[in-house]
Amino acid sequence: MRHDFVTIADLPKEKLMYLLEMAKEFENHPNRELLKGKVVATLFFEPSTRTRLSFETAANRLGARVIGFSDAKASSVTKGETLKDTILMVSNYADVIVMRHYVEGAAQYASEVAPVPIVNAGDGAHMHPSQCLLDLYSIYKTQGTLENLNIYLVGDLKYGRTVHSLITAMRHFNPTFHFVAPKELAMPEEYKIYCREHGIRFEEHTDFNEDVIADADILYMTRVQKERFSDLMEYERVKNVYILKRQMLCKAKDNMKILHPLPRVNEIAYDVDESSHAYYIQQAGNGLFAREAIFCYVLGITLDEVRNDKTII
């Protein structure tokens, strides 16, 4: 059965675990010919080099061929073509469409008009479900479980869509969240309401030091961007507060891992890279396995078929 992969928010727990098990199979054997003879289109109406490379690598490692564009300037959008026409046109050529768009809800609409499956590679500030799946996979892999974890979200919790998706996706797993952010970038009220409605425990902090994070299983860092501040004095005051430094790891639990959706600018000091807690580069690598799983899921290839796959290279 074909699916779309537009959002992760409404997937039930079993579906999430199913996708994570599938990603694990691809980590064991990433190179296969499961998609041999298929054509994957990557339509990037907004440039995003690493997401596009990760999807294209996933398609290539499964034996598919890839067509597409990496910038709307290279497409007919500049001539005024509607999204619907572009999607229908490409559906004539490709078996699955991976789409990044700057407009919110674009992927949902594309999935309603397209005869082929749509994979949302980010739609404006709205959703970025493949990032969320690779975050979940990274947590699952490093902790051995998703249940009962202490997850610390640090930095820009107001605009960071990855942290918002993580809260919704983790609701099945009894997490305790800690929101560490300056007041101006604090977790929006709607997500705190969401937590209360779903029985998710959370604490808020404005301090960021070794004592605050001593209990963390996962430390999810995000970037505090200057352009997000209306008050530049406030930015100057907090810009160095939410930087993770090596000595802040002195009280960390052994199993604690540091995640970051990347790119990082200065929010994780470079000497943290050498620590056994650093995981952000491997995290990005997990994106390949998560996206291989997404391709199989949308094209109706089951976990059993992946496990009994005879096309492993």
């Binding site: 919110e104 809800g105 674009a106 609409y109 709205h126």
Partner: protein
């Protein structure tokens, strides 16, 4: 002593009288019910004095009875209007506006970055809280208040 007062708008024999419309919303009701396409007599009155809402509009439509779906569209402009169903000069039923579970192609999303504002397509909203009048865009998920959205 007579308690008779002059009727504000002439009576109709059969049809629907839409009453208690906030005066400034009268023409939005006309648009939402597409009264301009009817071929039966329609009387549109507004700025009538009202004890409840100050100034009100009244619309009388002969030989026309609206479906519940048509009536539910009014929830975006005038939740408290009353539709009197008239048979042979008598009010046989009073209908009120019930907020529907879903609004299709009726109001605009107030998120300028939403796909519905960037593509020739219908909007779809889910009514997530009828009491508070909260709508959620099917596409961008943005929640908005029913009295703050514009008609398409």
């Amino acid at each position: 002593m007579s308690n008779k007062t002059e009727r504000q708008v002439a009576a109709i024999k059969n049809g629907t009288v839409i009453d208690h419309i906030p005066a400034e919303k009268t023409y939005q009701v006309v648009n939402l019910l597409q009264l301009e396409t009817l071929e039966t007599p329609v009387t549109i009155g507004y700025n009538y004095p009202s004890n409840k809402i100050g100034r009100k509009g009244i619309i009388k439509v002969s030989d026309k009875f609206f479906t519940d779906e048509e009536i539910s569209r009014l929830s975006v402009v005038a939740q408290n209007v009353v539709l009197n169903i008239i048979h042979d000069y008598e009010v046989v039923e009073k209908k009120t506006v019930k907020t529907p579970d879903e609004l299709r192609g009726i109001v605009k999303c107030n998120n300028p970055k939403c796909i519905t504002n960037n593509e020739p397509m219908n909007t779809v909203f889910h009514v997530v809280n009828k009491e508070k009048g909260i709508l959620k865009c099917h596409y961008c998920d943005k929640e908005q208040f029913i009295e703050k959205v514009e008609l398409v």
